[in-house]
């Protein structure tokens, strides 16, 4: 029996008990109240369109989901909102130009076509448009030729010390009969004699006509920053970027058991590049157009309450085109490089690429006893179409050597050599046709979520991942076959092409790999508050189909002309143009000899990953969840690039030949495949290995007051045999390369916060009811903070005198000297005396990355503050301010890592020069309805 009371407070606080008539029971049977409630339910449900027999209008009005919702937004950035980056301040720079507007809308709701179709809650659309207009100022202070230099007058030109720089006439070169070969070359002991131009002026008749044509496109110097005519060209050019795209989606539900979803994504973008010259000779970046299109169709069929089938088809294309600046004949401007002056022309002026993907997936989920099963089948077809000529009009390099006094520094100039048309080297990309790469993969998976017993769930999974190797639509693929004999020297290694000589369409095998996984979740001792999780998985990833035309060397070439002696003979003269080269396709086995040859790994080894994990989650008082975990992941056959892998490297034992290694012919004779300069493996050589161990602690808290917070701390160690910006020392002994991964931060802490400030109506604080509520209500903050310890320090010797045997030389460790110092700071972060430059023709004995020295830590704090103004119950206006690095914190740069020899030590070794970072602000306005 319910005890019923009606209680009122009189002003004096006297309690009054209600009369029996005012109680709810038992005067009327309880069932009658329930029946009234049921009756009201039926009325309400009908009026609100919740029932099958509801009026049509009511059905249409049913739920908020059948109304149109949307938003209009604008995000705004301007350089006056941002801090000047620390690195710019340190260089004495000023704030750059930035104007950015990002705007758009979203609209979603039922599809209604007046008088034709009323989608109600069955057909629903959502469309989002977003546009971006951005102007970013790029400023560069550089050096170009002076006006007198362009006419051949070098009489006023000086070197970096202010001394006159003589320009010599290559045509007057002669062997010095008095040269003493036992002494070093010097002004007093010249191997070759050469006369300077009279008055340091080159006669106009000697200047190359093509060079003069190009010079006419050079703008005049506009800066006197100096010193000595240097830094005489200040570029301040805006880079204009635009983008516009939309995402549209329509969902249609049929008789509750079928749902059909159709999606379309469309985006066009233009990445402008700041021009350095206002004409075809521009050597700035290449402007690029981007196009992305994607279409998706999804059909979900609920076969029964316990069986669902989902079929998805997804087709996409991602394209970019480099926008050429062509002359009247439709040619791109050639590239002329004459350091130290700003070059002319650009690489990849005509390139275009497209990646198209078709993916069809079917998933079927069902339940069988205690097993929840999921079967997945997926077919993927991938196309990469590339047209990728790097130098379609050629690239010429001009150095000081040909206008210098041979063997004497500070004589001659690259621009002077250019004026005379004397190229040190030149190359030209001959791309006959685009490449059309293709690949398919088939993926099958079965997953079982098995509730073994109450509180213990086991997940089992087995995937079969099959991938065909890369093929080319017209079989225009080639590689070096390391087991084929080269006809020129009888050594292994010869160019082969697809679908020729008994070979198939590709050079790699078909791969089929089984990928098992198992994991479990266990509520420890039946407690809902504690969950233990464990997992193991093994997976493989196929070699990507990269953009570009790597692996088509027999069909698309890059003829190169190199001077036999860069001080004496030009590779070619500019006025003569390129000599007639070999014709393409050139499928002869020796066609790639003496080049950097494209090499496709034929082994079929795929990157293999394996991971174990273990964690315990515990829910504490106050809705706080704490998780502790450990995980290990490891990989092998990771794909390495040319810096990490070199199948044509000279073994380190050859260092015993010392100075002989400087002889190019002898040097090449030591390579496993001496008829190739090098191999280009294009990030596809499967030799990498890594292992990562990590323990972590995570705290999560969510409160009814609108606060959610997550703190995550991780301690990790990651080792590998390949990482770093310089490459490896010993390609043939990977165990010696096993060291800390570049970029591994052992301590990492992050904190994320989202908080609806508890001010105003329906909140706990500042529940003011007058005009002030407009100020205090609707505030929200979000923050992300990350603090990490430093990266491992990778030390490098200042000089690498190994005769080209070692690409990335390690330093030596000085025994007995502690590399750590007591108070590391910018003035000295580590003790450089603990390391030494290895003697000539020896390797360093230190690890690639130091096992205990780390660079300075870093931290970053981002914050978002929003203020919402409710206009009606459905409409609101929201202002937001997003600040990246909002505290404008500077993170120190890495310490100088170059270790010099005792005779010429690097005085900055161990010092930190400069810092980086700066606050960036974006303001936003959004109207939602």
């Amino acid at each position: 029996m319910v005890r019923l009371a009606l209680v009122a407070f009189a002003a004096a606080g006297v309690m009054r008990t209600a009369s029996p008539q005012q109680t709810t029971a038992p005067q009327t049977p309880a069932a009658s109240e329930l029946s009234k409630a049921v009756e009201e339910f039926r009325v309400q449900a009908r009026e609100r369109g919740l029932r099958a027999d509801s009026p049509v209008q009511a059905k249409f009005a049913n739920t908020k989901g059948t109304r149109w919702h949307g938003r209009l937004f604008e995000n705004f950035r301007n350089n006056f909102l941002d801090a000047v980056p620390h690195e710019v301040v340190q260089r004495g720079g000023v704030q750059g130009l930035l104007r950015r507007n990002q705007y758009g809308f979203n609209l979603s709701g039922p599809v209604v076509i007046p008088r034709l179709y009323n989608g109600g809650s069955a057909t629903f659309f959502s469309v989002t448009f977003e546009g971006v207009r951005e102007k970013v100022g790029r400023s560069v202070l550089t050096t170009i030729s002076t006006l007198p230099e362009r006419t051949g007058d070098w009489s006023a030109t000086v070197d970096s010390a202010g001394q006159p720089m003589p320009i010599y006439d290559q045509a007057t070169t002669a062997v010095n009969p008095a040269f003493n070969p036992s002494a070093s070359v010097s002004a007093a002991n010249l191997q070759y004699s050469r006369l300077p131009f009279p008055g340091n002026r080159m006669p106009a008749s000697r200047l190359d006509a093509k060079a003069l044509e190009a010079v006419a496109l050079l703008p005049a110097p506009n800066s006197g920053a100096g010193p000595f005519f240097r830094n005489n060209f200040f570029i301040f050019a805006p880079e204009v970027n635009t983008a516009g795209g939309l995402i549209a989606r329509v969902d249609h539900t049929m008789r509750e058991r079928h749902r059909l979803g159709v999606g379309l994504n469309y985006s066009n973008g233009a990445d402008g590049a700041a021009p350095y010259y206002p004409n075809a000779a521009n050597s700035g970046g290449v402007s690029r157009d981007r196009r992305t299109r994607r279409g998706t169709v999804e059909h979900v069929f609920t076969i029964s309450p316990r069986s669902v089938n989902t079929l998805t088809a997804d087709i996409s294309t991602d394209q970019f085109v480099n926008l050429p600046e062509l002359d009247a004949q439709g040619r791109a401007f050639p590239q002329y490089r004459f350091a130290p002056y700003l070059s002319m022309g650009r690489s990849y002026p005509l390139s275009r690429n497209a990646r198209n993907t078709l993916q069809v997936t079917n998933g079927f989920a069902t339940r069988f006893k205690e097993h929840r099963l999921r079967f997945i089948g997926r077919f993927t077809a991938e196309q990469v179409n590339s047209f990728w000529p790097q130098y379609p009009s050629g690239s010429y390099r001009f150095s000081a050597g040909l206008t210098s006094l041979p063997g004497i520094v500070n004589t001659g100039h690259g621009f002077a050599s250019f004026l005379l048309g004397l190229a040190e080297s030149a190359q030209r990309s001959v791309v006959i046709s685009p490449s059309y790469f293709r690949r398919q993969s088939y993926y099958y998976a079965i997953r079982d979520q098995w509730e073994l017993r109450k509180g213990l769930t086991v997940n089992l999974g087995l995937n079969l991942d099959t991938t065909t190797p890369r093929t080319e639509k017209y079989n225009r693929q080639s590689t070096v076959a390391l087991d084929e004999i080269n006809p020129v020297n009888g050594r292994p290694g010869a160019l082969v092409t697809a679908k020729a000589g008994g070979r198939g369409r590709s050079f790699q095998p078909f791969n089929a790999k089984l990928e098992p996984s198992v994991s479990l979740a266990w509520n420890i001792l039946g407690s809902n508050r504690s969950v233990a999780r464990a997992g193991y998985s093994r997976s493989y990833s196929p070699v990507p189909v990269y953009l570009g035309q790597w692996g088509t060397q027999a069909f698309n070439g890059n003829p190169t002309w190199v001077s036999s002696n860069i001080q004496l003979q030009p590779a070619l003269r500019l006025a003569d143009g390129f000599p007639a080269g070999r014709a393409f396709p050139d499928t002869r086995p020796e066609a790639a000899n003496n080049t950097v040859a494209d090499l496709i790994d034929p082994s079929g080894h795929q990157p293999t990953y394996q991971s174990f994990s273990l964690s315990v989650e515990r829910e504490l008082a106050g809705s706080m969840i704490v998780t502790m975990g450990w995980g290990q992941s490891a990989g092998r056959n990771l794909l390495l690039s040319n810096s990490g892998s070199n199948p044509n490297a000279i073994p380190l034992a050859a260092l015993e030949f010392r100075d002989q290694l400087n002889d190019e012919n002898f040097n090449r004779s030591l390579r496993p495949f001496p008829h190739y300069q090098k191999f280009d493996v294009y990030s596809s050589w499967p030799e990498g290995k890594y292992q990562r161990d990590a323990g972590y602690l995570r705290l999560e808290k969510r409160t009814s007051g609108g606060l959610s917070m997550s703190a995550y701390y991780e301690f990790s160690k990651q080792m590998d045999n390949y990482s770093g910006p310089y490459g490896v020392q010993d390609y043939y002994n990977r165990a010696n390369e096993w060291s800390l991964t570049v970029g591994n931060n052992p301590h990492r802490f992050s904190l994320t916060l989202m908080y609806e400030l508890p001010f105003g109506a329906n909140k706990s604080l500042l529940t003011v009811t007058d005009w002030r509520r407009y100020l205090v209500e609707g505030w929200s903050i979000s923050g992300v903070s990350t603090v990490a310890s430093g990266d491992p320090i990778y030390l490098r010797p200042q000089f690498n005198n190994t005769g080209g045997v070692v690409d990335a030389l390690n330093v030596n460790v000085v025994p007995g000297v502690d590399p750590h110092i007591s108070n590391p700071g910018p003035n000295l972060w580590y003790n450089p005396a603990a390391f030494a430059q290895p003697p000539n023709f020896t390797t360093g004995d230190a690890a690639r990355t130091h096992p205990s020295l780390r660079g300075p830590g870093s931290q970053n704090h981002d914050l978002s503050v929003t203020k919402r103004f409710p206009l009606t119950s459905e409409q609101s206006l929201e202002l937001s301010a997003v600040g990246l690095n909002f505290v404008n914190l500077a993170n120190w740069n890495e310490p100088d890592n170059l270790i010099g020899p005792a005779s010429a030590p690097n005085v900055n070794a161990g010092r930190i020069i400069g810092s980086r970072g700066g606050r960036v602000i974006q303001l936003g306005l959004r109207y939602s309805f």
């Binding site: 319910v2 009371a5 005012q22 009234k36 339910f41 977003e130 989202m754 929003t866 929201e878």
Partner: protein
């Protein structure tokens, strides 16, 4: 005619024939607030003598309904995701339905693709359980779009009858499964300096605050069992918003981190619903009011109750 339909009509006819007198009408100038509360008295089933203050002033407690009084539970299923979580939820709900006291009626609705009545409130547990087992797991998540409507139906029932009413959602919704776009996916992949997605939760937070405000005007307590516990930023904001919405009505939200937790979470939600009491406060509205702050007290019992209401219509916003 199906058996369950005959049973329902029969019950309705019999109840209607009893012709119960209507409850005393509330004077036109008086307003009512129904405050859900939980008593932590030794005898939790008993209804203690409750005193109430509204915006700092004493008000009349016109009626109290305790755990032993009639209850209509509107059970709303919002199941559009993974079968592996839906099945244990169905089993857990049906297990709890069998244990409900006789004076509890259960109405069944589905929220995917708009709110739909599957079963009017009934005391026939088998009928409801059958509909639950037959329910298709399909469509798009509907929790956010239907919450206010379901609570509105509950409010109407509270107004018409002396019963307790609660709305219980069982949902596997995640932010990305809504028809409306809350995830703010990248539109222009070529835009490399986009800062607007650094804090991707902005849209869902805004929507959740709209909902918290709107459900603050309703009087039916809302309970949510969320079958997924997600900790990415978007779903963290979404799930924190669900907690806030449910709590602001006096109810609460439960989250399941594992399959094994689903039965217990469902069980706890039913327990909360069954244990709730309702205090009907009668008062004379005094001009423009922006918020009602409620304090309930009872001798000999600690009360946990809803503390705030937002006024409807022209009284407030």
């Amino acid at each position: 005619m199906p058996m369950k339909r005959r049973l329902f009509l029969g019950t309705t006819a019999a109840v209607t024939a009893m012709a119960a007198p209507p409850p005393p009408a509330t004077p036109a100038d008086r307003a009512l607030l129904r405050v859900p509360y939980w008593s932590e008295a030794a005898d939790a089933a008993a209804t203690p003598v409750v005193q109430a203050m509204l915006n700092g002033a004493n008000v009349t407690v016109a009626r109290l309904l305790g755990p032993a009084d009639d209850l209509v539970l509107l059970l709303v299923l919002d199941l559009a995701g993974d079968l592996s979580r839906v099945d244990p939820a169905r089993d857990a709900i049906n297990a709890r339905l069998k244990q409900l006291p006789a004076n509890t009626m259960v109405g069944l609705l589905r929220a995917q693709d708009g709110l739909r009545v599957l079963e009017d409130p009934t005391a026939n547990r088998e009928s409801v359980a059958g509909r639950i087992q037959e329910l298709s797991v399909s469509g798009r998540a509907g929790l956010l779009d239907t919450m206010e409507t379901a609570l509105g139906v509950g409010d109407a029932m509270l107004t018409k009858a002396r019963v307790r009413v609660a709305v219980l959602y069982v949902s596997d919704s995640v932010v990305t499964n809504y028809r409306e776009d809350f995830a703010n996916p990248v539109v222009n992949s070529s835009d490399s300096r986009d800062m607007s997605r650094r804090f991707p939760e902005a849209l869902i937070k805004e929507r959740m605050q709209q909902i918290v405000t709107r459900v603050g005007r309703t009087q039916t307590p809302l309970f949510i069992v969320q079958l997924n516990y997600e900790n990415d930023r978007l779903n963290e904001a979404y799930q924190t918003g669900l907690i806030e919405a449910a709590t602001s009505t006096g109810g609460n939200a439960e989250f399941c981190r594992t399959l094994a937790e689903i039965p217990d979470a469902v069980g706890r939600a039913f327990d909360h619903v069954l244990a709730h009491s309702s205090a009907e406060l009668e008062f004379k509205p005094a001009g423009k009011v922006w918020q009602y702050d409620v304090q309930l007290r009872a001798k000999g019992a600690a009360l946990r109750h809803r503390t705030r209401f937002l006024p409807k219509g022209k009284e407030g916003r």
